[in-house]
Amino acid sequence: MQHMAFSNAHSSGRRLRGLLFSRQGRLSDNLYALFFLAPVLVILTIVIFYPLVRVLSYSVTNASLLFPNREEYIGLENFDYLLNQDAIFRTAVKNTLVFTFFSVMGGFALGFALALLLNENIPLRNVLRGAALIPWVIPGVIVALMTLYMFNGEVGIINYTLKSVGLIEEFIPWFGSLDHAMLAVIIANIWNQTPFYMLMLLAGLQTRPDELMEAAKIDGAGSWARFRHITLPHLSKVIMIITALMVIWNFNNFDLIWTTTQGGPVNATMVLSVYTYRQAFVSFNTGYASAIAVLWLLGLLAFSYFYIRAMEG
């Protein structure tokens, strides 16, 4: 026993030297890696990991921005209130799911259609592929300002168009209406994100083997069969990755909803990010906002876990 411990200590000294220097006496890869990675790790620790740890510890306190450094431990009180009494939290979770689901579905469907069409041999194909990215490049706040104008209840072009083609009788006060506000932000969001799906799916389509398509055609497979049995399986990995990414991003979406409605009218568009921000920076309840954050992180973890399992399975 003792002997082993001694030899371990001995070899660990040698191992340390091995870690730092290579056989030629140069600095080893381990030491260089430390130098090379240090700046990135320091920045991520300050801006992301340390605040995350702090969120965990704040979640069991009544911390408030108004009274810094005077937080008290209150156990699971925040969580108890959140899960059992906070109706707005429940609304926010529901709204976030609705917003995310329809945004991803809509963006994916339109982006996929666009990718398939722009993969055909049509005039101006490359120009259109580039220009179609514009909605995705416009800053989120400006997308939101455009949305405010186009969906405006009195002067908005959308109301005008819908009315002139006879789809509506009266102008809809989109952002003043409990039934329409969410629809308006989802449409704007789909518009903003469609190009991303297009870009990724187009890249995937370009690696689809032509021989397979030709062979299937000779065997008499119709367009739908070829799409179903060649194109879709070929794209399945890209599809899994982009939908996972977009589910997470849309779950986090803040810019569009904060700028257009701030969660209103009467919480009709209240999503988790806006509710958390309100708790933290409007009501100054840092502790309570942190508790929301912790539940959110748990949800994110569960989602990632099941998604990764689904991808591997």
Partner: protein
């Protein structure tokens, strides 16, 4: 079922017209809002309220653009802050991500896979969660309302993608060149500086542009980590100027919007080629 499934390639004229009609519809959806923004920015503000709307401005004016460019405390201030902070973010992102990307591509060290996963996973955390306590931290170390503080925060959001992309670029540098230099007595640092960097310049440009755009467009951090009007970048500046006003100044708003979107569109068109290349290079070794 099967009998209904036609081979569209046997009806080329039908296929072509269907493709073009569908494409036209989607293109209206994609391009109309941007067209409408530009059109409104060229109208006198009263015309922005016209019902029925004028699809093409009846009288074209550049007055709204002039108003913005001459607005010292508003637009120009936000624009300048945006340029400083975004350029700073681009620079810092390049400087810190380059050695890290190289390390992941070439060096053999302990915990490599885990570290890479940690760096990549950091971009998945919701920004609003981080900003709850980042604000307090910034207040304690007194970097609220500073360029450094904003650059630090924005850089952290560019790092995962930048490291990933530069790792891909570094992997595409032929290893034999590096080995030859190594045999000639060149140190790791020397190899990075004299051999790798000149070969991965497109990657550095891509990382710089990507980081610039990220910082330029960011609302949440710019809004939360600045309290003084003079420090606002464009997104929070626009938010505070235009949203919640009693009467919207649509034309001014869209002239300003066009002015701040233009750089992003130009940068992105330049970037697109590199981005796709970067994604591909990053994906080669999974």
């Amino acid at each position: 079922m099967l009998s209904l499934d036609l081979d569209l390639d046997q009806y080329p004229r039908f296929k072509r017209s269907a493709t073009i009609i569908l494409l036209l519809l989607l293109m209206v959806f994609i391009f109309f809002p941007t067209f409408w923004m530009l059109s409104t920015s060229l109208k006198p503000n009263e015309d922005a309220f016209a019902v029925p709307p004028h699809w093409i401005p009846q009288q074209v004016t550049l007055k709204n653009y002039e108003t913005q460019i001459n607005d010292r405390s508003g637009f120009r201030n936000y624009f300048r802050n945006g340029v400083v902070v975004s350029a700073g973010t681009a620079l810092v992102s390049i400087l810190v991500s380059m050695p890290a990307g190289y390390a992941f591509a070439r060096l053999r060290f302990r915990g490599k896979r885990t570290l890479l996963l940690i760096i990549l996973a950091s971009q998945m955390f919701p920004a609003v969660i981080i900003v709850i306590t980042l604000y307090s931290l910034y207040r304690e170390i007194k970097i609220l309302d500073t360029y450094q503080g904003l650059i630090l925060a924005f850089t952290s959001f560019s790092i995962p993608f930048s490291v990933w992309m530069l790792r891909g670029f570094c992997e595409s540098v032929p290893e034999e060149i590096e080995e030859a230099a190594f045999v000639d007595g060149c140190s790791r640092l020397g190899i990075l500086w004299r051999i790798v960097i000149p070969l991965i310049k497109p990657g550095l440009v891509a990382v710089g542009l990507f980081s610039f755009l990220n910082a330029w467009n960011n609302l949440l951090f710019a809004l939360s980590l600045t309290t003084r009007l003079e420090m606002r970048t464009i997104p929070p500046g626009f938010l505070l100027t235009y949203v919640g006003e009693f009467q919207y100044k649509w034309s001014d708003m869209f002239a300003g919007s066009a002015l701040v979107t233009l750089p992003t569109v130009i940068l992105f068109i330049g970037l697109q080629r590199f981005l796709v290349k970067g994604l591909m290079a990053g994906a080669v070794k999974g």
